[in-house]
């Protein structure tokens, strides 16, 4: 298992600095939560790690430098992510979605033939995320929570060693959250997981460690209890509640 090591990470868009010199270490097998108000730079951080936005500094995973590589190469080195709004291939079936996720390394010959049966890892992932029944339904017809599970399933068959999940339980019912949290705990037994989340209850129940981001910087880091006790965190969360929307818009416009 490998860990994530971020040093002096900076991302700016047209003069607006979204991530401003972040240092972050996630140990192998950790289940790390990234929290912080809207516009704190959480998603941008994940974007930078996965190659979606250009960044300065250094991001190493398992000792390999990721910055400067293209998105699909980073993905191939074992890093997967999900998105705030669940992004699955709506017109393909659940099975097809998973099969594609499992197949980045396939040979041209395999690609040009039909799928004869359900590959082992795909069957396992279907079981794990509880979508076996729905394997042949178009992903577009799934409920919101099911789509998010499908995304996690896709990361599983992709066999990533680092999962970066952006608000995986948004819009889920309490039971679904519980199930998702337990799933994440199981996954993190053999992989490294980073979760961006707003839901504090969810974080308290499942986080092994927490980093708080604010205005592009790491404000606080530690266990749930440590972070909650940090006066800087309390100030940010209470003092900035009103400013959240505007900050979000600023990022959108940048």
């Amino acid at each position: 298992m490998s860990g994530l090591e971020i040093r002096r990470l900076r991302v700016s868009f047209d003069g607006f600095t979204a991530v401003d010199g972040v240092d972050l270490d996630v140990r192998p097998g950790d289940l790390r939560f990234l929290i912080g108000p809207n516009g704190a730079g959480k998603t941008t951080l994940v974007d930078a790690v996965t190659g979606l936005v250009r960044a300065e500094g250094s991001v190493r995973f398992g000792g390999e430098e990721l910055l400067g590589r293209s998105v699909h190469r980073i993905a191939r080195s074992g890093i997967g992510r999900t998105f705030q709004t669940a992004t699955v291939f709506e017109e393909l079936t659940v099975l097809q979605n998973l099969d594609i996720a499992a197949g980045a390394g396939r040979s041209l010959w395999t690609m040009l033939r039909r799928r004869k049966d359900v590959p082992e890892p795909v069957a396992r992932a279907l079981e794990t995320v509880g979508l076996t029944e729905l394997a042949d339904s178009p992903a577009g017809t799934l409920a919101h929570g099911q789509k998010q599970w499908l995304e996690i399933g896709m990361l599983l068959v992709q066999d990533v060693r680092l999962l970066l999940l952006d608000e995986p339980v948004a819009g889920m019912s309490h039971d679904e959250r519980q199930a998702t949290g337990e799933l994440l705990q199981r996954i993190s037994a053999e992989r490294t997981v980073v979760v961006i989340e707003h839901d504090m209850d969810f974080m308290r129940s499942f986080a092994r460690s927490v980093s708080v981001l604010h205005a592009g910087k790491v404000l606080s880091e530690g266990t749930v209890a440590e972070v909650q006790a940090d006066p800087k965190v309390q100030e940010v969360y209470l003092g900035h509640a009103a400013a959240e929307t505007t900050a979000d818009v600023a990022v959108q416009e940048a």
Partner: protein, 298 residues
């Protein structure tokens, strides 16, 4: 030396025409991301408006001046109508919009043919606009056509008017708000459909103005729009979406490039070279000269 200067001026004047025909697109395509292939036919409508007005207004000068606002309204109305009938259903499907509006353009061309006849029609230019002024006298004088100066002036005026409208008026602010964040604009109480239609009205109206200007330099017929539409789109593509300054710079650069290449090679070769050059340029800057960066995924 005269040749170099002369070709530069020629290039600028070609650029002015390009700018004028592309300006409306910079709003409808550049800001709203709608690929309206019928834009060329809105230019045509502007030109035919001039022709119709000249039947009732004897003075070529006055009719031309009257034609400018009337053509703006005529083409603008056509644009708003098109937006209401078809385009508003297609905002999420830009490629389909391209083909649908191509169909509209075919129908408008045939309509023009049925109303005005297949042959080109003529308009009279005011005498002052058929002359030229001499910049450098002598054996090989450098002259600039008055019609081209008029078009240049018109293009500059239209750019200034459009950018002031976008920057300073409440309408302009609303347009920019919708372009940048449609959902947010909607929840902030802006009627996005009204804004869309108004923007389309203005963009198409500008095509009508360009049509009036084109009567001074080119033919007025059913196919006049198709002759210019691809060039106009290329200006926007190279200039970059959502940026007026990209459109302006690229129109003039392409104009000068075209004129210099035409002079040193042939018109056909120049056209091919410019097109190939554009493809090469987009390798270097796939989003065009200027871009609005957004955080959206796609």
């Amino acid at each position: 030396m005269t040749v170099v200067l002369g070709q530069t001026f020629t290039g600028i004047s070609i650029g002015a025409v390009l700018l004028l025909i592309a300006l409306g697109l910079s709003l409808t395509f550049g800001q709203m991301n709608v690929i309206n292939m019928a834009h060329g036919e809105f230019i045509m409508a502007g030109a035919y408006t001039t022709y119709v007005l000249q039947k009732s207004i004897a003075s070529a000068g006055i009719s031309l001046l009257v034609a400018l606002p009337v053509a703006f309204l005529v083409s603008g109305a056509l644009g708003a109508l098109l937006e209401w009938l078809l385009i508003r259903r297609l905002y999420l499907r830009p490629l389909d919009t391209l083909l649908v509006t191509w169909g509209v353009s075919l129908m408008l061309q045939q309509l023009a043919r049925d109303i005005f006849g297949a042959p080109n029609v003529q308009t009279r230019a005011p005498d002052v606009l058929t002359g030229n002024i001499t910049l450098i006298g002598g054996d090989d004088p450098l002259t600039v056509a008055n019609s081209r100066l008029f078009i240049l002036g018109l293009a500059v005026a239209a750019v200034v008017a459009l950018s002031l409208t976008l920057r300073l008026t409440p309408l302009g602010r609303r347009i920019r708000a919708v372009v940048q964040n449609r959902d947010l604009a909607e929840v902030s109480g802006i009627s996005t459909s009204t804004v869309d239609r108004t923007a389309f009205f203005i963009g198409s109206g500008l095509a009508g103005v360009a049509g009036v200007a084109l009567t001074l330099v080119g033919p007025i017929g059913p196919t006049m729009g198709t002759n210019v539409i691809i060039d106009a789109f290329l200006v926007i593509v190279v200039g970059g979406i959502g940026q007026l300054k990209g459109t302006v710079i690229v129109a003039f650069v392409l104009g000068v490039l075209q004129s210099v290449l035409e002079y040193s090679t042939t018109v056909s070769v120049a056209k091919v070279l410019v097109l190939v050059g554009i493809v090469a340029f987009l390798q270097w800057r796939p989003q065009g000269l200027y871009t609005l960066r957004t955080r959206s995924l796609v």
